[in-house]
Amino acid sequence: MVITLENFRKRRQKNLPRQRSLLGVAGILSQLLITTSWSASAASNNETAPSPLKIVWIRDLGRKDAESIKSKGGVKDWAAACTKLAANLMAGKGVWGTGVFTVASCYIQDKGVDKFTAGKDAPNPWVLRFIEGETEATLSLYASENKDADLMASAKFPGSVWAMTFFSDKGFAELVSLRLLNELPMMGFVRKGSLEKSLDLKKSVAFVPPSGKRVYTVPAPPLLLKTFRVSHADGAYLTDLTGNAARSAFVDVKAGSESDEKKVMTNKSAGKYFVTWTFDAATQTASKNQHLAFHDAQGAGKLVPELDDSINEAAKILDEALAAGMFSKLLTGIKANAASGFIGLRYGKQVLAGSALLKKLTFFGLIAEFRGGIVNGLRYYYDKTSQVTDSSNGVPEKLGWSSHTIGKSFGTSLSHVVDRIDFTPKLGIWALDANLVRSVDDQGIASSTGKFYMPRGYSLNLEIGAEWNSSWYKVRPWVSYDYAGAVSAVSKSTITAIKAGLDTFLTIGPSFKLGSTNYKSALLGFVVAEKLSLADKSVKASEDSKIDAFSMTLTFVGAGVAISW
């Protein structure tokens, strides 16, 4: 019997009894062995998870430049630049906590062959090809090493002979990596309950060009992120939405408060922010068992136009800076490292009751502090008192000292208690010239005097301070200990100074701009209480009228002006 669709349909239409008879006839007449080469596949695992990355530098500038790749410098520079770029593409390590890769390896392509330079290889990597052309540098990110692999993201900037070196600039490496990640179907993977990152909306390149302009803007972070499982099939990334992460905080680090959203978006003038996105409960639960990706809720590539502008802006500045030469690079690097800071002058008087001599003391000081780069925390002080004299005790008294001190502070923030607490070791050089009366007889004539002379004495100093600040004030109490010893054939004087002080900075003066740098003026106020102990070990015991030590307690109160940048 032949089973036809037609007779089956007829049977079905008539609701005939099941053709049980078919069992016997067909069962006897047929060999009922069904074989198939297909078997149900195990659950296909095309879920997208963090992958390894291979970065290849390809120079396309002609023979001369190809040879430069082989030079040790080129390889070394590329290793450093590539490592910096890769660091921002690793999962959780990029700007805003982005990144989708696990490990990275760096290669240089020479005569069509990729040669390992740095990093760590892993199987089945994505490939980022950095092609340094004469007129344009391009970065193309592919989902595999296959020649026909999908192009996932690409970025470009104007060609420069320094193009590879650009990535040595941390901000530039961050920008380019963010640009690439923003174009991908996923910008990062969920690793914990929230994403927390500090970020700059206005960045400076590390090298200052001759024009002095080195600041560029960075787009503000997205308001909402989507979280999802993501799989890859037939060239498409398919999302299965899990939840979202709202931007729960956007704090102006300097002001210590939530930023004005509109102000941030329009001005982008402020510096450092702290941004937090908090993942919803569904995401947090699901992320425990599987890889969840996240991206801007608006979709992929929404920030690409803004990021391209920033990259071009930064590349132009870097090209100008690096083209100025290595000496300029070094010099401008130093300038760049003193990216912010202040310099101030101050004047004060000794106000505590004391001898006629001490009442005459006045104080003049120069203070400078640098914040940013490798000189971050560097402080310089020049302190000088007036050289005062008095003869009311029948003996000419004199007192005056000066010091140059340089130190580096190491600070940290203690949230909710103090904005900054720092510890500053210092080295200095003191100079002292004093002739002092310790006691007078019944007629008011000096009975014991001491001469302390230190034309040059090296000092060690330790200072501990705390700081509370806002956008317009800074209050800083501090204590310090100084010890200076004379280096002199005729004198063996020493100075020990224990000081406690309070500095205030009020940024309430006018602002002005010189070149590309904004300057702000500030008023300074200070009070310092100090116990100054002088000693001269060269004094012999037989010299009855001479003293070998003298202590005085002084309090200076004063004010000054400062300029910060």
Partner: protein, 263 residues
């Protein structure tokens, strides 16, 4: 003597024939009985161990994208109550929100076609409102098929009715998803697998065809002969385990072969 010899030879001949008949019958019956005695896999276990999305180049509905319209560049999908499609069929319906987001994270061509919407939703069937009725695209190189001359797709519709209509338009009730011994896992609608000992017929030369009945050109190439007779053993949702009762040819059951079920 001659007579007795002839009788003897006839008896031997008869005995031999009987032996062969009995042997043949017993072998066939044993084979048939063996098939009956074989324990049927559980539809729930079998279907849950199967990744339908992993089957390549399918020629049957697997994931359905239901759109308000095919407006470019970003059409709006319709979402139904969670898992309604999955609970009532072997099919999945594309989630509207995920589809919308897929269009945002993938790089679409400047003038996306229905095939692109299939690609970026993972669906292989698109239904959309068109003019006065509803149209349909199926497969990798879809051609537009009239799904309904009246009515509009919206989120108030019962998706199960839409899927039922889909199978009617395509001209079959189920498809072969997997085979194990003398059992076949069939994907269908839950409502089509309610009848005990339900029988169906496996259609010959149907595994490469999207449409069995209808006005499509593809219908012409389909041979309507039945390849085998099937009987439902157990079902779970839109998955049914069918026992192979009889077969016309020795050809293997193929993934995607279409099945007509008795009503």
């Amino acid at each position: 003597m001659v007579m007795s010899s002839r009788i003897h030879n006839a008896r031997i001949h008869h005995a031999v024939r009987c032996f062969y008949v009995i042997a043949f019958l017993s072998g066939s019956l044993d084979q048939a009985y063996g098939k009956l005695a074989e324990t049927a896999p559980d539809a729930k276990d079998w279907s849950s161990s199967l990744d339908i999305s992993g089957i390549k180049d399918v020629t049957f509905p697997r994931k359905v994208l239901i759109l308000q319209s095919l407006e470019k560049p970003n059409p709006t999908a319709i979402s139904f109550k969670d898992d309604l499609c999955e609970e009532n069929s072997f099919l999945t319906c594309a989630n509207a929100e995920s589809f919308d987001y897929n269009l945002k994270v993938n790089k679409l061509p400047s003038a996306p076609k229905p095939a692109d919407f299939m690609k970026y939703s993972g669906a292989n069937v698109i239904l959309f409102n068109s003019g006065a009725g509803i149209d349909l695209f199926v497969g990798k190189k879809p051609e537009k098929i009239n799904f309904s001359k009246a009515g509009k797709l919206n989120d108030k519709l019962n998706p199960v009715k839409i899927l039922k209509r889909l199978f009617d338009v395509l001209g079959y009730d189920g498809v072969v998803l997997a085979e194990k011994g003398s059992f076949i896992l069939v994907g269908s609608l839950k409502s089509s697998l309610q009848k005990e000992r339900l029988q169906g017929i496996l259609l010959e030369n149907s595994s490469d065809e999207w449409i069995i009945e209808g006005k499509s050109k593809s219908t012409a190439s389909v041979k309507n002969s039945g390849a085998a007779l099937l009987q439902l053993d157990n079902a779970n949702g839109g998955f049914g385990v069918f026992r192979l009762l009889a077969q016309n040819t020795g050809a293997a059951a193929k993934i995607g072969q279409k099945i007509i079920l008795e009503h």
